[in-house]
């Protein structure tokens, strides 16, 4: 039913069921034999039913999580979705086009600051959400092109370093542009940012509907979920589109791609722009959700975190990317319980779990690369590249620049 190449077309002709199921982190892998659980076989024979079940699950998730683990975990769920959005964007740049970007968080920051400028008391502007968000995404996309243009000749490590520098430059400016005129409010950050307001419903206050009270975190969950699903759809369509194939060609062999008539410049710029747009979108949502932003949230480590999400999950594979984003957002939160555990067993906190978090993260990065470099759910194509037995890996190492440099 859902073979790798026919999946998308099937999706769009006969309705989304099978593909949505396979695109979710819990669903079967694309292009793999589906793991058949005895007794649940009817799900696989009836993709429509699987789709309905998944939709119900996603709709009920905040209530289940909120009821079971407490409302702070619904917030974590919101962040999972935000990071998924970012990871999908970065996956376009790194996973599809093979352009290693270590400054991705800069676009997230630009989206967030843009939102704050147009919808907070800072400049006294309170433009409506549905206007500000797309503008912010476009603003970030523009910066994606601005960054992409001078770096077209660079590849591999050099590109990584330049994008890293770009991210740091943006951060330093965010930190210091509070004088002579106050643009970013400096290290204090900007607060009182307008919450999302859609169809007369402000997401800043609990919503009373059908005798239920729905807290803001739940409302944001549904908004983020809708946008994440949209982004998944766009990203999957892109991958198998003409542009997506051009990106893959670029990633595999830039010179051959150029020889085949692909306009490498435009293709690269488009990848940067698309990725940055997703980043800007996530940034705007983050600003509205938090109501407060500061340069603290946009450090290099955040860029690296998002990169690790897509590497952990399996680069180039949407399901893997979603899984990576979910794992790397949830695990650090779950580690907080280590503090309670220490208090319960030893009586006091020996090692603050917050301090341990990053250390474990580093250990995870290194061991992941050593033992499973292609990620938890590798896309078949990338897996072949990372297997390194054939010439592809050797050739990836070969040149830093293309032949025209």
């Amino acid at each position: 039913m859902c073979s790798p190449s026919s999946c998308l077309s099937a999706c769009w002709c006969s309705g989304p069921p099978a593909c949505w199921a396979s695109a979710s982190p819990t669903g079967p892998r694309r292009g793999r034999a589906v793991l058949r659980v005895p007794g649940l076989a009817f799900l696989y024979s009836r993709p429509g039913l699987a789709f309905v079940l998944l939709a119900v699950l996603l709709a009920a998730l905040p209530f289940m999580v909120g009821g079971g683990l407490g409302n702070s975990w619904v917030r974590v769920l919101d962040f999972v979705l935000l990071y998924m959005l970012m990871a999908i964007g970065l996956n376009i740049v790194v996973g599809y086009a093979g352009l290693l970007d270590l400054g991705y968080i800069a676009f997230y920051a630009l989206g967030a600051y843009f939102y704050a400028w147009l919808a907070s008391p800072h400049f006294g502007l309170h433009l409506p959400f549905w206007m500000v968000l797309p503008m912010g995404a476009a603003f970030a996309g523009l910066f994606g092109v601005l960054l992409g243009a001078p770096t077209l000749r660079l590849r591999g490590d050099y590109l990584a370093i330049v994008t890293l520098g770009f991210g740091e430059i943006i951060r330093i400016f965010m930190n210091n542009l509070n004088a002579p005129f106050n643009l970013t409010n400096g290290p204090q950050g900007m607060n009182l940012i307008d919450p999302v307001k859609l169809a007369g419903v402000s997401f800043g206050k609990p919503l009373h509907v059908l005798g239920m009270t729905v807290p803001p975190t739940y409302l944001y969950y549904y908004l983020f979920l809708a946008l994440t699903l949209l982004a998944i759809g766009v990203a999957m369509r892109l991958q198998d589109s003409r542009v997506g194939r051009a990106w893959a060609a670029l990633r595999e062999d830039e010179i051959a791609a150029a020889a085949m008539g692909i306009n490498t410049r435009n293709t690269k710029l488009l990848a940067f722009a698309m990725g940055a747009t997703f980043g800007g979108l996530a940034g705007g949502l983050f600003a509205a959700f938090q109501g407060f932003i500061s340069p603290e949230s946009f450090t290099l480590w955040e860029s690296i975190l998002v990169l690790c999400m897509i590497v952990l999950g399996g680069m180039g594979n949407i399901a893997g990317v979603l899984l990576g984003a979910a794992l790397l957002t949830i695990i650090p939160e779950a580690l907080r319980y280590l503090g309670d555990l220490q208090r319960a067993t030893i009586g006091h906190v020996v090692v603050d779990p917050a301090d341990l978090r990053m250390l474990l993260f580093g250990v995870a990065l290194v061991s992941m690369m050593l033992f499973r470099p292609s990620g938890l759910m590798p896309s078949r194509q990338r897996k072949r590249e990372l297997a390194a037995e054939d010439g592809v890996a050797e050739q990836e190492r070969a040149d830093l620049y293309d032949s025209r440099a």
Binding site: V162, F166, N175, A179, V311, L370, A393, E396, R397
Partner: protein, 309 residues
């Protein structure tokens, strides 16, 4: 004029420290084509270890002369960093020698995170101050001040760089290193033990980083678990500026970057009419980095990478 000379002096002092760190990046890149992101953290560990030893020595006997105490700290920090550099290569880079580029880049970032957070757990989040043990007398040159410490840093850096140059150009080990950088396969055919040479490169680079770490903490009077990160990025920028893989280039790049940064921070306020201030000091390294990579990717003295293009 006084500002100019003063900033020039400050820039040279800072630049010679950058150069020492940049050598570690450039040697590793020359041989493995790997950005050793953890190198900045090795510098930080060097400073932290030295400060711990210095603190212990002062605690044992407050009467000891300052220079001896600092020397004691450096003499412990150097082997500690050498061991660390060796271990990093062995654990994080050697198993990935034949993997595609992305894998070692990510383990490098991972090692950097591990070292930074291990240091935070060991030494805490707060700044550790460097006791005023070294002579701080000021001399006046052309209206600018230079302290004994600054002179000492510059002279020692140049001596070390000279020593390294001799090592690379005149010794058997140096020749093997250059051969390995040219081509690992051919060097191996010629009887060079490539693995040992790579280990040696990491060990030498880490020793330089340890010294640089002590210098930078003595210069600013403090050390912090986070200090290696920015220092490492700037040193890497310096290495790129000079031409990555090129040892003389790293020295030149380090000095130039230090001077650019100091002069930039001193004059940016005047140039932009007060719009941007000296707190933009950190931006210069990145603009230099991007500028060099975009307009002259082989760096000022580099030819190796250009040949490959």
């Amino acid at each position: 004029m006084e500002i100019f000379t003063q900033q020039l002096i400050n820039g040279l002092v800072l630049g010679s420290i950058y150069a020492l760190v940049a050598l570690g990046y450039t040697m590793v890149y020359g041989i493995l084509e790997l950005i050793n992101f953890a190198h900045g953290e090795v510098t930080m560990i060097g400073a932290m270890v030295a400060l711990t030893v210095i603190g212990a020595l002062v605690g044992l006997n407050p009467e000891l002369p300052g220079l001896i105490v600092v020397l004691g700290g450096v003499l412990v920090a150097i082997p500690a960093c050498m061991a660390l550099g060796f271990a990093i290569e062995k654990v994080a880079y050697r198993p990935l020698r034949h993997a595609p580029r992305l894998a070692p880049l990510i383990t490098a970032i991972g090692m950097s995170i591990i070292l930074q957070n291990a240091a935070m757990l060991i030494w805490g989040r707060q700044y550790v101050s460097f006791p005023p043990l070294l002579p701080q007398e000021r001399h006046e040159i052309l209206g600018a001040h230079i302290t004994d410490l600054q002179i000492f840093i510059v002279v020692l850096s140049f001596a070390i760089m000279g020593g390294l140059w001799l090592l690379v150009e005149r010794t058997r080990l140096g020749r093997a290193m250059r051969a390995t950088a040219q081509s690992k396969e051919v060097a191996q055919l010629m009887g060079v033990n490539v693995d040992r040479i790579i280990s040696a490169t990491f060990i030498i680079g880490s020793a330089l980083a340890a010294i640089a770490g002590v210098m930078v903490s003595a210069y600013y009077g403090l050390a912090h678990y986070y200090m290696g990160f920015m220092l490492g990025l700037k040193a890497f920028s310096a290495a790129v500026l000079g031409g990555i893989g090129n040892i003389a280039g790293a020295m030149l790049g380090g000095l130039l970057l230090g001077v650019i940064e100091a002069l930039g921070a001193g004059y940016i306020g005047d140039i932009t009419g007060g719009f941007l201030g000296s707190h933009y000091q950190d931006v210069f390294a990145f603009f230099v980095l991007i500028g060099v990579l975009v307009f002259r990717p082989s760096g000022l003295l580099g030819e190796r990478v250009a040949n490959r293009a």
